[in-house]
Every structure is written in structure tokens, then in C-alpha cells.
């Protein structure tokens, strides 16, 4: 008994020593560890060497250099998501332009319970600013409020945290802007802005789509669009199969249909496929909201000469620029304040609106001329 006990103790002690040794070796090589950790945390990084500095040193430098670029932490809904990686690239470009830096950290799944610890860590590390796309508006609110109470500016992008839990929310596009953009594209594609148009939407209960379609109908009341005939809305439920069936039904029910407007990334692809399969290319056009990669084939094929989405790179750029202005106290985030970002909005000032929301601008239109560039830079 004693012998075995002793051997067991010795064995465990050996394990403990190894573990302890590992612990202490990581501790002594801490600066290098931090330096290598930074690029891992920012996978898309063409990061400047400055951002590779140990995070602690960087954040200290940021709080000292109040007038330089801020050291911001960007927390997307989910990391390794192409959409957020593109927004991060935009933020990195802004950081380079403004002399600051930004790192991206976040949960591997879009889950608010996993996102909150990243907010808390950024707060503990006294980050210069937090730029966040909320997984759950209310779930992240207490942590963000704690960050704001600690003097850290909070900028929302893509998906808003609850009102009061951010200084400024950068909205990719407002409802009216998208509605107007959809109406204008339908007008562009219908010959002489004349003829029948129909909408292929997502689910009947989809809040965003319903708001956009309503805004589009409001825009269509403008005499400019008086020759466009409204054939109604069908719902594809964001399901490729249902969307395809609905698009086919539209073509059969309305032989004179000129344009299908699909304000959903699933529906727009399905509609373009149906038009191509029905050999109606050049007679019926498809437009709406889509991704460059999903639509490039149909833009070149002529089924969908133009469609829109917000410019995701610019979204990240603007979010960093706003965070920087907040950190430098050139703005406070109060409604009515204005600021300028030289490379965006044609250099015109942005105005902070109700609930401290800034709108990036009108939706960005993709066509034959620019699509290749965005397929390459967005990757989605």
C-alpha cells in the first residue's frame, strides 16, 4: 500500500512539475506570445507591424496618444465569417489612414453568450474603442454599458445593440434608402422605365423585407415611376426551392413581366436562374439585393445587369472612423452632430440621426463594370 501510494504521489508530482514548467515558460516568453497571438486573432490581417505589438503596450499607447488613431477592438457576430472579415478589412484600412490600429476578436459561433466575454475582456484591457455587431441586442447591453461607464466609446455596426448601449450605431442602409434604390433599379431595367414589375420576397413575416417593399412602394408613387405597373409580391421564404417555384409562377402568371425585384440574397439568385432556364434573358430582368459572388454569373449573363447591397468595406471603414472621432472627443454621438470622413459619402458630412444612428449611404449598386473587383475583395 505504502509503496504504491508513494509511486502515485511521485507520478503526480512529476506531472505537476511538467505543468508548472509549461506555465512558467509561457509566462517568461509572454511578449513573444502576445505578438504572435495578435495576427491569429485577426486572421484577415495584412496587419501593419504596429498592431502586432503586445496588446498591453498598444492599448497604453492608444490612451496616451489621444489625438492619434485609436486602438480599437472589433467584435463581429462571429469570426471567420467572410462578411465580417470584409468589414474588418475596411476598418483596418481606416485605422491605417488615421494612424491607429484595430484587432478583431469574437465568438466562433454567432452566440451572444459567447460574445459577452469578449466585450468584458476588451473593457478589462481598457481598449481605446469597441466596435461591435451584436448577436443579441439586449444580451450584450449590460456589458457594453459597463464598457461605456469605464470611458470606452462603443460603436455598433451591422447589427445594433440596444439603444443606450452604444454611443453611435453605423447603419449599413436605412429602409427608405433601400426602398428608393430598389425602385430606381426596377426603373433602370424596365425599357423606358415602363412595364410590369413584381417582387419576390423572403418570408411573409420578414420584418426587413416588408419594410423595404413598403418603402419601395412609397417611392413608386413618384410621377417619375408612373409607367411601372405593380404586379404584387410573392414569398419564397428564403428557400431556394420555394423561391424558384414562385419565380416560375410569376413568369407564367404575368407574360408581360419586365422586372423581378428580389430584396433577398436567396430569392435574387433563384429568380435569375429561372429567367435563364426559361430563356427569357433580355426580356425579363432580375434585380434586388444580392452578393457579388452569388450574382456575378447573372450580371455577366445579362439576367441581372444591376443589383445592390451596401458596401461592406465602407461599413467597416466608417465604423472605425466614428470610433476614432468618439475617442478623440470630436463627436459625442448626440443626434444632430455632424462629421466628415474624407473618403466616404463624396466627402460630404454625415449627420447623426435619432437614436444616435448614422446611415452609411444609399445602397451600393453592382454592375458589369465593378462586379469582378468586389467578387475578389468581398469573397462572398
Amino acid at each position: 500500500m505504502n509503496g504504491s501510494t508513494r509511486r502515485f504521489v511521485v507520478g503526480l508530482a512529476a506531472v505537476a512539475l511538467v505543468v508548472a514548467a509549461c506555465g512558467s515558460s509561457t509566462a517568461t516568453t509572454a511578449p513573444t506570445a502576445a505578438a504572435t497571438a495578435a495576427p491569429t486573432a485577426a486572421p484577415a490581417s495584412s496587419a501593419p507591424a504596429a498592431s502586432q505589438a503586445a496588446s498591453a503596450a498598444a492599448t497604453q499607447a492608444a490612451s496616451q496618444a489621444a489625438s492619434g488613431g485609436v486602438t480599437a477592438v472589433m467584435i463581429p457576430k462571429q469570426i471567420n465569417n467572410p462578411y465580417f472579415d470584409v468589414a474588418f478589412k475596411g476598418a483596418q484600412k481606416a485605422a491605417t489612414d488615421l494612424g491607429g490600429s484595430v484587432t478583431q476578436v469574437g465568438p466562433s459561433a454567432a452566440d451572444a453568450t459567447q460574445q459577452v466575454p469578449f466585450i468584458q475582456t476588451a473593457t478589462t484591457q481598457k481598449a481605446g474603442a469597441i466596435i461591435i455587431s451584436a448577436d443579441d441586442a439586449t444580451a450584450v447591453a449590460p456589458a457594453l454599458k459597463a464598457a461605456m461607464a469605464a470611458g470606452i466609446p462603443v460603436v455598433g455596426y451591422d447589427s445594433s445593440p440596444a439603444v443606450g448601449a452604444y454611443n453611435v450605431f453605423v447603419n449599413q442602409a436605412d429602409t427608405n434608402g433601400i426602398g428608393a434604390g430598389l425602385a430606381q433599379m426596377a426603373c433602370d431595367l424596365a425599357p423606358n422605365c415602363t412595364g410590369e414589375i413584381a417582387v419576390l420576397s423572403a418570408a411573409q413575416s420578414a420584418t426587413n423585407q416588408n419594410a423595404w417593399i413598403a418603402a419601395m412602394q412609397t417611392t413608386l408613387k413618384d410621377p417619375k415611376y408612373s409607367k411601372l405597373v405593380w404586379d404584387g409580391v410573392v414569398y419564397g421564404n428564403d428557400d431556394p426551392q420555394v423561391s424558384t417555384q414562385q419565380a416560375q409562377a410569376l413568369l407564367q402568371a404575368h407574360p408581360n413581366l419586365k422586372v423581378i425585384v428580389a430584396p433577398t440574397t436567396v430569392g435574387i439568385v433563384a429568380a435569375a436562374q429561372v429567367v435563364r432556364a426559361a430563356k427569357k434573358t433580355g426580356q425579363v430582368f432580375v434585380t434586388g439585393l444580392g452578393t457579388p459572388k452569388g450574382m456575378v454569373d447573372y450580371v455577366k449573363g445579362g439576367e441581372s445587369p444591376e443589383f445592390a447591397l451596401w458596401n461592406v468595406t465602407d461599413l467597416g471603414y466608417l465604423a472605425y472612423a466614428v470610433a476614432n472621432d468618439l475617442a478623440n472627443k470630436t463627436i459625442t454621438g448626440a443626434p444632430g452632430e455632424t462629421f466628415t470622413v474624407p473618403s466616404l459619402n463624396n466627402g460630404q458630412p454625415y449627420t447623426i440621426g435619432a437614436d444616435s444612428v448614422v446611415v452609411l449611404g444609399p445602397p451600393f449598386v453592382f454592375n458589369k463594370g465593378n462586379i469582378d473587383q468586389y467578387v475578389a475583395s468581398f469573397g462572398f
Partner: protein
Amino acid sequence: MTASSQSPARPAVRLGALARWETLLVILLVGLIAAGARMSPFFISGGNFANLTSSVMEIAIMALPMTLVIIMADIDLSVESMVGLAGAVLGTLVVAGVPLPLAIPVVLAVGALGGLLNGLLVTRAGLPSLVVTLGTLALFRGLANVLLGPTVISVWPDWFTSFGFGTIDGSPIPFTLVVFLVLVVVFWAVAHATWIGRQVFAIGKNAAASRYSGVRVNSMRNWMFVITGMIASLAGIILVARFSSARNDNGTGMTLTVVTVVLLGGVDINGGKGSIPGVVLAVFVLALLQNILRLAGVSSEFQGIAVGLLLVFSVIVPQLARQTRGAVDRARRSRRPPAGPIASGEVTA
């Protein structure tokens, strides 16, 4: 009678082994604290302590009853879904106008009922707890989905959310840590100083022998599932309070972490061995490890890998130790006949 005649010798053996495992955990803890302090100037701060503890409290609370369940050689995989179901029931009741102080006991009762379902299926139907709770893992989550659908209930009274998120005024101690510590004292006392604890260990070591010794094995297992269900629903309430939101996917993935903590705490996955202090230490090892990885900016996939490695580590090391000891025992037994109470193998033989 047999049980009482064994007890004087057995606790001595058990406590000795546990002390060694706990020593290892203490060394790990100290190592982690030293590494954290060297790595980040923000590590040793009240705010960071509050963050790192509050982020694991739901898991910590559920690890306590799970410890007893695993010591009894059972397992409850359904706890994470009970967290979701508890949030869904709480949200539904509050939206329907039921005041929170009334809704909370109802949710705890739902948790106990869910646990009772697990317990009855295991003890009456005689099914393995692994299979039963795998089923209720899907069942409870399904009920949460039916109750809430895609809606998120995020309107909660201030006192409730500040309980979930806040700390005791002027200190870095989260309210939820106080709940955990109270439960630790209760579970510690029950597991290590009462007849209930002795029966739990006895059942885990050898259920058949315990039954012949007059232990009401199935009744005890049943009760442990009820308690686990109820504590899981308490964790569900705390999670809702901490994130001020009840969603149908609350708690997803937590079971793995709870089991990891319990095994890292030195509890034998085969039952019969383990201690509450070990599991409490393991809770803090996990909290510190996660916190340090986050402060170092390690990406979240690698944090997942770290939890996985911890689980493997905490299963393999005791297994290796056991095999080594078994080999040593066999070698000795071939030299001289066994004297007195040695291994559980003797009891069954």
C-alpha cells in the same frame, strides 16, 4: 452492516487519493494565476475577477449536482437543454403577466419535474442514464423551441438583470458567485458529512452491494436527477438574468463544459470517486484558463480546443494512474496475500 464495517477504512483511502488530485489542481491554479499576472497588467484587478467568475457561474452551479450524479455512475446530458427550457418557461410566464417572484418557483418546479422524468426513466424503465438524458436533451430543447419559437424575450425588471450581471456594492463579488458559494457549502456538507453522501459513494462503487446492504439505490438515483434538473433550471434563470434575454437556444453546448469541470475536479467517470472541493477548484481552473486565453487574444476556436484538451487530460491522467496502481497492486498481491480492505474488486468477488 457490511457498509458500516467498511467505512472506517474506506474514507481514509479515498481522502488520501483526493488530496493528491486536489494538490495538482491547486498547483495548476497557482501556475495559471502567475502566468496571467505576468502576461497582462489587467489580470489582477477586481473587474477582471468579477468577469472571470461570473462567466462560468451557470456551469459551476450545475457541476455540483452533476458531481454527485457522476459519482453514482450515472450522467445527465440534458442539463443544457433544461437551461434553455427554464429560460423559455420563465419568459413565457413573464410575458403572460406572471410576476417574476412567482414565476421563478414555477420554473424551479419545472426543472425538478424534468429531472424526475429523467430519474423515472432511468430507475423504473431501467434504461442507461446516458441514453435517457440524450433523449431528454432533445426533448427539453424541443419544448423550449415550441414555447418561444424565434422570439427573444428581453424585457426584465432591473433588479433581476442587475442580480445576473452586477456585483455586491463596492466589491468585485458577483451576486451569482454568492449563490454558487452557498450551494458549495450545502453540497460539500451533504456529500462528505452525511449518510446521503456515503450512500452516493457506495452506489457508485458497487450498486448491487449497496442494494444488498439496504441502500435504496433507485430512490437515491431518482432524487439526484430531480436535484440536478432543479439546479439546471436555476442556472437557466441565472443565465437569463445575466444576459437579460430568454431565447430558445440558451445554454447550448454547456453540458460538455459541465462534465469537463466535474472530471477535471477528479471525479471518476466510472463512479465511486470524487469530491466537491476538487470540482470547485476545477471551476476556477477553467475560469482562469478561459480568461487568460481571452486576455492573450487567442481566437475562440483555440479556446474550444483548450476545453477539449482539459477534458481528455482529466480523463486520461487518472486512468493512467489507476492502471499503474493496478499493476503495482497485482505485482504485490502475487508476492503476498492481500490483508484487510484493499480494492473494491475484493468486495464483489
